[in-house]
Amino acid sequence: MSRKIERLINLTIALLATKRYLTKSEIFRSVDGYEGSEETKERMFERDKDDLRNLGVAIEVGSFDPVFEDEAGYRIKPEKYSLDLGELSGVQIALLSLAAEAWRGAALDAPAHNALTKLRSVGVESDLDALPAIAPRFNPAHKDFQIITNAISKRARISFSYVSSNLEIQLRTIEPFAIATRDSFWYLAGNDVEKSQTRSFRLDRIEGDISISKANQGYEIPDGFDLFAHFESQELPEIATVDLRKGKAQLLRTSALTTSDMGEWDRITTRYIDAERFIELVLWHGEDALIIEPESLKKQIIAKLNEIVARHV
């Protein structure tokens, strides 16, 4: 195993150091570790190239003289190999460190830690003192979270079992576009291959393993796709007027647009998108919250209350 690793490192060094393309025969002659018959060396080299590409090392193929059909040569361009985020200040390194730290114990711990190691190698001291004391942290998500990010970067389809709203288990095949988190839940959005529609999924509703397809790769991710904006833009928010008992219904108060004092009650206005979910939130507050407007919403909550009464008489 060590011999192979040495050879891969030596190949990387040789291809990085060269100013011109190196031919295969030059590589076999000069890079340590290529031994055996011509055929063996060829096989070794092909595998090594694939391995380095899998590590994200871009090997360029070219020739000395494009006019004549020379033997192909190889090199690694240092500017493609190296990290380059422009001139980074100590404060920027500190921000990036906090960003990586947020993954501690969570799904992308390993890539975040690797990124941090690379950033620390830039040689700029992190200026953590310049930042206020904040310690944001990601919640753990599905155990196969990294398969999703891996699939997004490879443009590979994924399949999983999803618990539908009536508890049926559905097999879904998705071309993932993005992942995002809000209020402790993780979401995945992508093209549902069977339905040919962009859909979103909550990761905690995925059952069992997520599998990645080796065959179907290379779909397009819509430019600038934004998971939350995509699903929210479908419907316009409406405004509701709700009466709240003084000192109560904190969850509704936090989203109030206006509040007016009515003595024992406060009258607030607030935005809502999904009427059903909004009614559930109002009902959670029991006798401390009453919908005043719009009339349609009032009708719906009355219908729901009649249903609750009918279930419990």
């Binding site: 030596n10 590590l55 890539p111 990124a115 040689g123 009536n166 796709f225 006798e287």
Partner: protein
Amino acid sequence: MSKPVQTPLGRTARLLDLVPFLASHQGIELKALSDNFNVTESQMVADLTTLWMCGLPGYTPLELMDLSFESGFVTIHNAETLSNPRALNDEEIIALLLGLDIVMASLPSDRNDLKLLAVDLIKQLSIRSSIPSKMSAVPATPGSVRAIIESSLIEKRGVEILYHSSYSDEISRRIVIPIELRQENGFEYLWGVCQSAHALRSFRLDRIQEAVVKSTSIDAVPVTATEPSQGISYTIHAHSRPRQVIERFAINKEAFTANLQVVSFSTEWIKRSVLASAGSVEVVEPPTIRSEILHSAQSLLARYQGR
């Protein structure tokens, strides 16, 4: 922490990242170096020994990397070719983009300067990634509150919190002697001894609105033994929307049947949850809770129809 990668490719990646890290951390202690790469010291020595055999073609001492680590401190020379850190890959960029988003949401509103820096970093990282979609993160808990809780844990001091209890729908100020942060059902909780209750309590972090570290040290606080709270056992019948029911009442999907036995510590919570289920859930037992829900729904109806 990440698991040490022991495949040949994983080790190669580690060695490639080790060189620039060493070049920028000359004389680092072997132990600290091993910790940073999350490997044992003997694995690190094996890695360094492998690196020692690598260098530019020719492979005489002039071309080989020059490493020294026998003293327990590691230095590297003659490694210029590999001394720049490798470019970030797409997964590392995804991790940083989401991380920066959550950091930005945690910055106080008067630090627009830092927000602008973060926005610029997000732009720089996005350009370098092959992924055209946006990754966004909205944290449940403000990072500033979390930092205060963390520091109270480290300093072993009490913390005063402004807490919104969603069961009783009340905001109260309490002093808590923190014990630990715990993840449960996808939410983060602070476990600690609540001074006003003189008992062990858990607080969902996203419901803590403010936090201040107190000067009280932990030893100064009398901690009374906590009695196990008595759970209330109740039976519900799920009429519709089963996924919502199992998520709301934290029921195992495998255990789902139309009639469900559930235990809760708060009557208030049961009533609220059943009302919010908007008719898809019926309380079968106990009759007291059943009639309280009926009463609430009827009096709400009277109010709506009276207006």
